[in-house]
Symmetry: C2
Subunit: 156 residues, 2 copies
């Protein structure tokens, strides 16, 4: 997962625009686990997860085991994960699938200043620190950033 | 926004459990703008945003202006923001509103390893780099992390 972007990925498609990134970041994220999926290349990944897609696993780091308490009572969860291979400097993008240029914030593409993906997944089971879910769309080995119930209970 | 947690906030409620945080972070976030709301203290903040709540502003940094291109065509947007005053080390929490102890990942509380909040907001207008929205629940001055359309278009 540490490979550099290839030269081809650094090229801009027609209409795309990059900016200079800020000299430093403003806050630090902890990776709290790892997502295991059937997809080993970006070409294999679905564009978006489907609740009737294949089962994927989320393996939460031992440090956070107790934080899973009570999660099994929720049928749908929100999963935040870090699209670590995506470039962060594009403000205009031309998705290959549409070839229509638009702003980064008008797309759910992984390419964005903070490449955090957000998906709603169906929670199939939890066994220890391993969750089985449906609805994800990311590469095998993608770092986990957060898990939340899809909807909170009033006051929570 | 840089004030330290007070002593009272560092105390644990009954049933709460903290862990030692990792020695370093794994990825860096850029704050890409600032959210302006009517709420100056946590006590004033609603527990969760409402689409018929007051209008709040999102002011995007100039660097990312072009990334807003096309966003005005979306009625609802997903807003990610950084709850910078929340502690990050609790795995079990006892919300004051319920006094029922449960795991951090079974709550949408700002207190979590990566205090990223995710809300769906109604996009009322965009003028330059300033968005008017309804549906947020955060303190005035909260750093913006991402904007996405609520739903992507197939292939985007």
């Amino acid at each position: 997962m540490s490979e550099k972007s290839s030269d081809a990925e650094s090229e801009l498609r027609q209409g795309e625009m990059a900016v200079v990134l800020p000299p430093q970041s403003d806050a630090g994220l902890y990776f709290i686990g790892t997502i295991r999926t059937p997809w080993r290349t970006r070409q294999e990944c679905p564009k978006r997860g489907s609740l009737d897609g294949p089962i994927c696993s989320i393996v939460v780091d031992e440090r956070w085991r107790m934080a899973l308490t009570g999660l099994a009572g929720h049928r749908r969860i929100q999963v935040l994960y870090w699209m670590q291979r995506a470039r962060r400097d594009l403000v205009l993008q031309t998705p290959f699938s549409t070839m229509r240029t638009t702003g980064t914030f008008a797309l759910r593409s992984p390419v964005r200043p903070n490449p955090i993906a957000s998906s709603i997944a169906e929670l199939v089971s939890i066994d220890g620190v391993t969750l089985q879910v449906r609805g994800l769309d990311c590469l095998d080995g993608t770092p986990l950033v957060d898990l939340k119930p899809e909807h909170g209970v009033a006051g929570e």
